[in-house]
């Protein structure tokens, strides 16, 4: 299928004797905004990290735009440029200012000229409301600002899909909103997004599809309305009750 981004078949990931992913099957199409929810330790982040090969899966297959990315000859390094990643801990380069953070990958990996790269970076930095801070270093920014820069850095690479690994979990409560609103704007641009999140409201309102993971498998995969109002699985219901009652 032409508009298929990821096809995952029977994906398994073990850390030593501990199985984290126990056979994941998943297909994601272009333009989908997927949220992955589930308890800590259910394998959400590991699945995301397998998708851009920060973790090497133990077995199973992953196809990206129809190409097997786990083959021996596959160039994992070039591939990662097409798959953006936003981390829980931002991972901005501490030795560079905001602008350089967004420029370096374009120049070194995509071989864009410095002028072009800066133009692209400025475009995305203003989209996330950080264009005023191009001279600041990461250590001089708040968590929410750092995460918005990290999103601009990922977007500057013009990826085919953007992965978010709990992008608001390390933020102070009052900064969660600014990051989620940037992500919500992004979801309307047609960008394919896969987000691991504990923000149920975000999963419900912004995503087009929600996956509930439990104990290394995708336990439920449906629309946000379905999963939040009438989940098919008992364990989905139990998880959502736990989360919502905490509030």
């Amino acid at each position: 299928m032409a508009d298929n981004i990821f096809t995952v078949n029977d994906l398994v990931k073990n850390f030593g004797n501990h199985a984290v992913l126990k056979g994941i099957n998943l297909s994601v199409n272009k333009g989908e905004v997927v949220s992955i929810i589930g308890a800590s330790g259910s394998g959400k982040s590991t699945l995301l990290r397998c998708l851009n090969l920060l973790e090497q899966p133990t077995s199973g297959t992953i196809e990206f735009e129809g190409e097997n990315i786990l083959g021996n000859k596959f160039n994992a390094i070039k591939y990662r440029a097409k798959v953006g990643m936003v981390f829980q801990s931002f991972n901005l380069f501490n030795n560079m200012n905001v602008l350089k953070n967004c420029v370096i990958g374009q120049v070194k990996v995509l071989k864009r000229s410095k002028a072009e790269a800066e133009e692209v970076a400025m475009k995305y930095l203003s989209n996330v409301g950080m264009s005023a801070y191009i001279n600041a270093r990461p250590s001089q920014l708040s968590g929410g600002q750092k995460q918005r820069v990290a999103i601009a850095r990922a977007l500057s690479m013009n990826p085919d899909v953007l992965l978010f690994d709990e992008p608001t979990s390390a933020l102070d409560p009052e900064m969660v909103g600014e990051v989620l609103s940037v992500m919500s704007d992004l979801s309307k641009t047609g960008l394919t997004m896969i987000t691991v999140t504990h923000e149920m409201q975000f999963a419900r309102e912004v995503s087009s599809r929600v996956l509930f993971m439990d104990d290394g498998v995708i336990a439920e995969d449906s629309s946000p309305e379905q999963i939040f109002t009438n989940p098919k699985e008992e364990r989905t219901r139990a998880f959502l009750n736990r989360i919502i009652n905490k509030r």
Binding site: K82, S89, F93, V109, N135, A136, R153, A154
Partner: protein
């Protein structure tokens, strides 16, 4: 002649001799430390290479790592004076020609320093947060790009105090190279001392000269440290109401 008269005498008649030694000492220490640092960084970059999928490459990496380990242990575990003798006379025995003494000196100081630097750089790399590597990998940088653009610049900042330590040690320890006739400061001091027979006075002068060199170097490297730390303040360009506004933010430190 009193003690101070003798000092003045040695200084007046032999300062040119001693200064020629100072030049060589600085040259040896500087080039040796820089090359040593480069060796250390290259070893650090190779040692942190991700595990290859290819069996042969993995085997090759094990061999290379074993060689690094032997190199580090041998050159940290034996005195530089002994290394100098072995390399200088060993080279002459094997090739039948003498290596020029300054060249020998630079080679010896470099590979000796490299062994220490490899460990210093390793410590520096370990201290960098794993997220910095992942951030770079996630935008498609390869290992070399990651190391050169993201990791090593941060490592350099962290290890600079240790590098400056090595530099100071090298200024002093190049004195052992007099055993292979490198005409550094200590070698020149021997000449002045035996010529004048004013041994104590000569070495008092020489110790002051070493002190001035090491003190200058530590101060200079402190300055570099401060430069590498970057500016503490930054400018915010534009605002919602006035795009041309510039706000200068100073950090309190």
């Amino acid at each position: 002649m009193s003690f101070f008269e003798k000092i003045a005498y040695v200084w007046k008649n032999y300062n040119a001799t001693l200064f020629s030694g100072v030049g060589n000492t600085i040259l040896l220490a500087l080039v040796g430390t820089v090359f040593g640092l480069i060796i250390g960084i290259l070893i650090g970059v190779v040692r942190t290479l991700p595990k290859s999928k290819n069996k042969f490459v993995r085997f090759l990496m094990r061999v290379v790592n074993a060689i690094f380990m032997v190199y580090i242990e041998v050159f940290r575990g034996t005195p530089m004076m002994v290394q100098a003798m072995v390399i200088f006379y060993g080279y002459a025995r094997i090739t039948g020609v003498m290596l020029p003494v300054m060249t020998s000196g630079i080679v010896i100081v470099s590979i000796n320093t490299g062994a220490y630097m490899a460990e210093i750089v390793r410590g520096g790399i370990i201290s960098i947060d794993k997220g910095q590597f992942e951030g770079a990998h996630a935008i498609g940088m390869n290992h070399w790009q990651t190391m050169m653009n993201v990791i090593i610049p941060q490592v350099m900042r962290n290890i600079l105090p240790s590098v400056s330590n090595e530099f100071v040690i090298n200024i002093k320890d190049t004195s052992v190279l007099n055993v292979i006739y490198v005409t550094e400061l200590f070698f020149m001091a021997n000449i002045a001392a035996s010529d004048t027979n004013m041994v104590l006075e000569t070495y008092v002068i020489v110790s002051l000269m070493y002190l001035v060199m090491t003190f200058t170097v530590t101060r200079l490297l402190r300055l570099v440290e401060r430069l590498l730390a970057g500016k503490k303040d930054y400018t915010i360009c534009g605002s919602q109401s006035d795009p041309a506004a510039e706000i200068h933010v100073k950090e309190a430190h």
